[in-house]
């Protein structure tokens, strides 16, 4: 994989969305249905990344308290849900993960 191609494609994929209306505005309309669908993208994409990595960090299914990835991810989610504080939940979950791996 060449870095140049990676970056060029990512630049286009990002810049086209941001430039859409600001640069080509007069000819565009944002479909309300797409707007509603976009609302669900962050939760869908991030969950899709998290689940396989947390349940099977080495590629092998490991649903147990001995899996630091799973425990740490659950801790991050629970603390964030209860406190609403992003950095606090990261600190707690990193600590839990570190303790489990190196204690």
């Amino acid at each position: 994989m060449t870095i140049a191609a990676l970056l060029a494609g990512m630049f286009l994929a990002t810049y086209l969305t941001r430039a859409s209306f600001l640069v080509f505005g007069h000819r565009l309309r944002f479909p309300p249905a797409l707007k509603a669908a976009l609302h669900h993208v962050p939760v869908a994409v991030l969950t899709a990344i998290i689940v396989p990595e947390a349940l099977a960090p080495g590629g092998q299914l490991d649903v147990s308290l001995g899996n630091p990835w799973l425990v740490g991810t659950v801790v991050a989610a629970v603390v964030a849900r209860l406190s609403g504080h992003l950095l606090l939940s990261l600190a707690v979950s990193f600590a839990a993960f570190g303790l489990m791996r190196w204690w």
Binding site: T14, L22, A37, V43, P52
Partner: protein, 235 residues
């Protein structure tokens, strides 16, 4: 001229809390990018050229998972599509700016920069909005590059960091970002659909399962919205 300078400065100042908030993510991005096998220069180049925090994070996790280029591009596009909404929101106020300035502000239109610009737009309308946006966007850009560079440098100084579970830092960050949204039924269903699909499709090559899971999650969300509207119409 003073108003222009004031507005530039005000934009940068109002973006400051968000700049501090992105410090850990910039550093973690730079470090994990190097741990995933990018050179420090390539990690920094991604911040310079792409400038999209969450998409950069996701790209790094896809690269270390062996994803194909088109999958990374498509995921970046899907993840960033919401920025088109920001573009549409700023557009009516940007009529008199000239194409070059509009193109530059568009390049800097991340979630955080948009949040700062939108707040100003609500409070002060179009008054000196361009220099304000340039101050916020330019400040935030330099900020992101600085933390990325420090992270990439750390990653290079401590190559063992890759073995310390930095992949965990990424998924913990994602989990903490979405968990607060899981109060209403719709996002829970979206997460369940996307998570289940991602698990079942994890064996597909090039991380194609991620795209499939993203679409399954969004489809579930649209279906839930539809159901709620139908119920409200019946009531």
């Amino acid at each position: 001229m003073t108003t222009v300078r004031h507005a530039l400065y005000a934009g940068a100042r109002d973006a400051l809390p968000l700049m501090i908030g992105t410090l850990p993510f910039g550093v973690i991005y730079g470090t994990t990018a190097v741990a995933a096998g990018l050179s420090p220069l390539a990690a920094l180049a991604m911040s310079v050229i792409v400038f999209a925090g969450s998409a950069q994070f996701i790209a790094v996790s896809l690269i270390s998972g062996g994803a194909a280029l088109p999958v990374i591009w498509l995921t970046t596009f899907v993840v960033n599509l919401r920025h088109a909404l920001y573009s549409a929101t700023v557009h009516p106020a940007a009529h008199g700016w000239g194409l070059r300035w509009r193109a530059l502000v568009a390049f800097w239109l991340t979630d955080e920069v948009f949040a700062v610009i939108e707040k100003r737009l609500m409070e002060r309308g179009n008054d000196a909005l361009l220099p304000y946006a340039l101050g916020a966007g330019g400040g935030f850009y330099l900020n992101w590059l600085t933390w990325t560079a420090i992270g990439a440098w750390l990653g290079q100084q401590f190559p063992d960091l890759a073995g310390w579970g930095l992949d965990f830092a990424m998924i913990a960050t994602f989990a903490a970002m979405i968990a607060p949204q899981l109060r209403a039924p719709t996002p829970v269903v979206v997460a369940l659909a996307a998570g289940t699909t991602a698990w079942l499709a994890r064996g597909l090559p090039f991380k194609l399962g991620l795209i499939l899971a993203a679409f399954a999650g969004v489809a579930a969300g649209v279906w839930m919205d539809h159901r709620r509207k139908a119920r409200e119409a019946a009531a």
